[in-house]
């Protein structure tokens, strides 16, 4: 009888010794400050989001969160750094879709591969809309398409960056409607908007928040969303008008490849808690963004889908 | 005695050629500016080379052997510092670098007093700068230091 009790106790002890460290490891994370790397220069939207999340993350995780910058290459320097970090959860990096999908496809060697960035959560979507000035000669998307068909290449569309969300939207649009327009890339959202407002480009593939800021002066022809964008209730989606185009720039965070699932879960929960907060959702909406509440698995699937959609387009248009 | 113009012209020409080769596969829009710049660079280099041959102005690079040695030693110290920094650690390497330069630039190197001053000042200055940059200003610094 005693022998059985002893064996039982021994087994329990062994099980406890095996399971214990695991729970301690997960329960122990995080114990040190976490570094949140922003692969852009300070002041950009990704920085604003990181700063918005910083105090909330610190409260939820119970440790300091250090925001640091690693700009360059349109984000590629930050992401190539991320994949080299220790996968212990103490270094996370902001990610942008479609950048992390398009850069490896378009550049050959971007310093990282899309699959190497293990997403924790996607928290913000910036739908892209095609807009023209209020005093432009066309009033609807059909007008624009008709005009473009008659004058191929005449309509200039401003966008931010090459092989970026705007560029891909432009290419997809051309393919779906059969028109040719001229894409004029700029160094960022601010120059893009300035060029559009100044009349230097006739149309703009604009970020939703910029479109909201200049609502009064512009007319948005369509949005690349599944549902109509709340700030522009009268503006149809591309899908409604028969153009199967979904266009947005999404922001999230990722961890280095090989990060244990338990640690990702802790971080994922923290970010989902932030985006679940109605105050945050209100703020984002007011500024012209859409809150996303995608966890790690959902994000991974989303990104993989995007890869499938963009791969043929990049191949076709990369000369 | 060096023909400065000739050297400048030839080096610039080499740079132009070195940049020409890998940029042949660029897209039209990505490459147009590079092409124009390379053409301007190459043309001006040729002009300078011609001037160097036609009207050579010779100059001395180092005014003395002492100067040359000083520079080479100084550059060597910096190079060693940069190469070994990631391996030895940022802070230890910096202590060594500062102390080395301090001692090297001192008037009477053989006096023990000077060596001690070099080490002490190094500890104070490097630690001070490091703490200010890292903790007060919150700026990221290279890894590999004991404080990490």
């Amino acid at each position: 009888m005693m022998k059985r009790v002893m064996i039982l106790a021994l087994v329990l002890l062994l099980v406890g010794l095996c399971v214990g460290p695991l729970t301690v490891a997960a329960a122990g994370f995080p114990e040190r400050p976490v570094t949140y790397s922003v692969p852009w220069p300070p002041g950009g939207q990704s920085d604003v989001e990181a700063r918005r999340q910083q105090p909330m993350l610190e409260k939820i995780l119970g440790v300091k969160v250090i925001v640091q910058y690693k700009p360059g290459g349109g984000g590629s320097l930050g992401w190539s750094e991320l994949i080299k970090q220790k996968p212990d959860g103490y270094f996370i990096c902001g990610i942008n879709i479609p950048h992390i999908v398009l850069q490896p496809l378009a550049r050959g060697d971007a310093g990282y591969k899309t699959e190497q960035l293990w997403p924790i959560s996607l928290f913000q979507a910036t739908p892209i809309g095609l807009a023209i000035m209020k005093d432009a000669p066309f009033k609807t998307l059909e007008d624009l398409i008709a005009h473009a068909k008659k004058n191929p290449g005449a309509i200039t569309c401003g966008g931010s960056g090459t092989w970026s969300g705007h560029h891909i939207a432009h290419l997809q649009f051309q393919k779906l409607t059969g028109v040719t327009m001229t894409y004029v890339p700029h160094k960022g959202a601010a120059p893009q908007v300035a060029a559009f407002l100044g009349g230097h480009v006739k149309a703009i593939w604009g970020n939703s928040n910029d479109l909201v800021t200049h609502k009064e002066r512009i007319r948005v022809l369509a949005f690349g969303t599944t549902k109509r964008f709340p700030h522009f209730p009268d503006t149809p989606t591309f899908k409604e008008l028969g153009v199967d185009l979904l266009a947005s720039i999404d922001r999230g965070v990722a961890a280095p490849p090989g990060t244990p699932a338990k640690i990702i879960k802790v971080l994922e929960k923290a970010f989902l808690k932030i985006t679940g907060d109605p105050k945050v959702q209100d703020q984002m909406l007011k500024e012209g963004f859409v809150t996303l509440q995608m966890g790690s698995k959902e994000s991974k699937t989303y990104i993989a889908e995007k890869v499938k959609v963009y791969q043929p387009i990049v191949k076709e248009f990369k000369k | 005695m060096l023909n400065a113009d000739l050297i400048i012209g030839i080096v610039s020409l080499v740079i132009a050629v070195t940049a020409w080769v890998p940029t042949r596969g660029l897209t039209l829009l990505g490459g147009v500016f590079v092409d124009y710049t390379l053409i301007v660079l190459a043309s001006l280099s040729v002009v300078i080379v011609i001037k160097g041959i036609a009207k050579p102005e010779k100059l001395r690079f180092f005014e003395s052997v002492v100067e040359r040695n000083n520079i080479l030693i100084g550059l060597a110290m910096l190079l060693v510092y940069l190469v070994f920094m990631p391996k030895v650690g940022f802070l230890p390497a910096s202590y060594l670098m500062y102390a080395a330069f301090n001692w090297y630039l001192s008037e009477d190197r053989m006096k023990t007093k000077n060596i001690i001053i070099s080490v002490l000042v190094s500890l104070v200055v490097v630690t001070g700068f490091y703490l200010v940059f890292r903790n007060v200003l919150g700026v990221p610094l290279p890894k590999g230091s004991w404080f990490d």
Partner: protein, 505 residues
């Protein structure tokens, strides 16, 4: 508007706000004075602290930092030939020679006063005429930026001491350097030779430290074993402050013109404040009766440069506050701060949040005054740094610049680039090939390229590329300026009755 301005001013004087302003200015001066740390980074570092503050307090502090940094960057420019931020490049041209002549205090006081003057003027413009100016700034399109870049390149004529062709060659090298990285249009990876780290391109401030600071240390201390940075011992005197004030009062045209140039360049979104000081310096040389004085240590050079770069700061806020388009990287950070506090740029800022907005503007006006005071008093302290023996100072500067170079992009590659450019700069100087135009090419390359390629795209869409690039009103003005500026050296040497070919080759 006056009512809002008055209310805003009152707000600044509230104890907590004023305290934050002073802290901000001091912090800004320190950040500006440390090479490698830019105003942008200083602002970004302090944004988390503004979370716990009211929007007004936070913005007041940020305004103080911006103004402080635009003066602080002159300190190392004068003392160790290293611009504290790229905006102060032109300050080194006359600032450092002043220090070498033992007149460092003159340079520092001139920098403080000129900074305050430029800041003051630009803030008045910002407060009174922001909306119409912002609208006008939108008229700057791709061809205009292209011609502005070309105009900037004609400054090489002034910078090329001795040989114009060699100056142009250096400029071309700079343009080539600027192409390293990802092509802004086309997205190609250029000249990285397989190093993915180089996809970010060459960072300007790192190149500046390399070309300006290291060669000086190498040649003075290491090569010649000079005991201190300047030949004469620096003894600050109060009479210097009076002297400088009187001198500056005697050059109202220069001060006004420099401030105007800085404000205008700041307003043009994305034109980059880095060129404000260079253009202003160039114009100061062009219109002066004794242009030969420049480059050898004259207060005029320092004043022209500093007035412009300090005026650029409020100028860059013009399109920011009215249209939400930042005119410079620090303005972009301030935009982030505005967004975080829920303040949208636009007429909302001047109506609903008018008091806070004007508190922000007024705080910068006051910051200009603080800079005058702190700068003048500081001029007694900082130059003494040059009296420290080289054995302590030189490695200290090396260490500080390494810290700065690393921290700008969190990248060890930048430290290597700094070292490499330091060596190249040293060799260039020895070969009488001055590297300043290389820096100019590096700064202007992106503008010229983007302007060129975008103009090609838009011109092609509109029918005629040439018509698009040449036949626009602002472009025509800029083209005329370019031609004038390019031919000026010929005119100047004809006027001084020298041989025309002398300074060209």
């Amino acid at each position: 508007m006056f009512e809002a301005a008055f209310l805003g001013l009152a707000k600044v004087f509230q104890l907590g706000n004023f305290f934050c302003l002073v802290i901000g200015v001091i912090f800004g001066i320190v950040i500006g004075a440390l090479p490698g740390l830019t105003a942008t980074m200083g602002l970004a570092l302090l944004i988390p602290f503004t979370f716990t503050m009211t929007p007004a307090m936070g913005l007041i502090m940020l305004g103080g930092i911006y103004v402080g940094a635009m003066y602080g960057d002159a300190i190392p420019a004068v003392l160790i030939n290293t611009p504290g931020t790229p905006a102060a490049i032109a300050t080194t041209f006359d600032g450092f020679p002043l220090a070498q002549k033992g007149m460092a205090q003159h340079g520092l006081v001139a920098a403080a006063l000129a900074s305050a003057y430029g800041s003051l003027l630009a803030n008045i413009v910002l407060a009174t005429s922001a909306p119409p100016l912002a609208e006008a700034s939108l008229k700057f399109g791709p061809p205009e930026y292209f011609w502005l870049g070309i105009f900037g390149l004609t400054i090489i004529a002034t910078l090329a001491v001795g040989s114009l062709v060699k100056g142009l060659l250096a400029g071309a090298l700079g343009l080539l350097l600027s192409t390293i990285g990802i092509a802004p249009i086309g997205g190609d990876i250029r000249l990285t030779f397989g190093y993915t780290e180089l996809q970010g391109g060459v960072e300007l401030i790192v190149a500046l430290i390399g070309f300006f600071c290291l060669p000086e240390i190498l040649s003075s201390f290491i090569a010649k074993r000079q005991a201190t940075y300047s030949a004469e011992k620096i003894i600050p005197r109060f009479s210097v402050v009076r002297e400088v004030i009187i001198s500056l009062l005697k050059m109202p045209v220069l001060m006004l013109r420099s401030s105007a140039i800085g404000t205008i360049i700041g307003i043009a979104p994305g034109a980059g404040g880095n060129i404000a000081s260079l253009v202003s310096y160039n114009e100061a040389v062009r219109w002066d009766k004794n242009p030969k004085e420049f480059g050898k240590g004259t207060i005029k050079g320092v004043a022209a440069s500093e007035a412009a770069n300090s005026a650029m700061a409020p100028g860059s806020l013009v399109p920011l506050l009215t249209l939400g388009i930042p005119g410079s990287p620090p303005a972009a950070v301030i935009l982030g701060a505005l967004m975080l506090h829920g303040m949208r740029p636009g007429h909302e800022l001047f109506s609903t949040h008018a008091t806070t907005t004007f508190a922000f503007i007024m705080s910068m006006l006051l910051a200009a005054g603080l800079v005058t005071v702190i700068g003048s008093f500081g001029s007694f302290l900082y130059p003494r740094i040059l009296n420290i023996p080289a054995r302590h100072l030189a490695p200290g500067i090396i260490f500080m610049t390494i810290l700065g170079s690393y921290s700008i992009r969190n990248n060890i590659l930048d430290v290597w680039i700094m070292f490499l450019f330091g060596v190249i700069g040293f060799i260039s100087n020895k070969l009488k090939f001055h590297p300043a135009p290389i820096v100019l090419g590096l700064i202007l390359g992106p503008y010229v390229e983007e302007g060129l390629v975008q103009s090609v795209l838009c011109g092609r869409a509109g029918g005629s590329i040439l018509a698009y690039m040449f036949l626009r009103p602002i472009s025509l003005v800029l083209i005329a300026l370019c031609i004038l500026s390019a031919l000026w050296p010929l005119y100047a040497s004809w006027r001084s009755k020298g041989k025309i070919g002398e300074k060209i080759l």
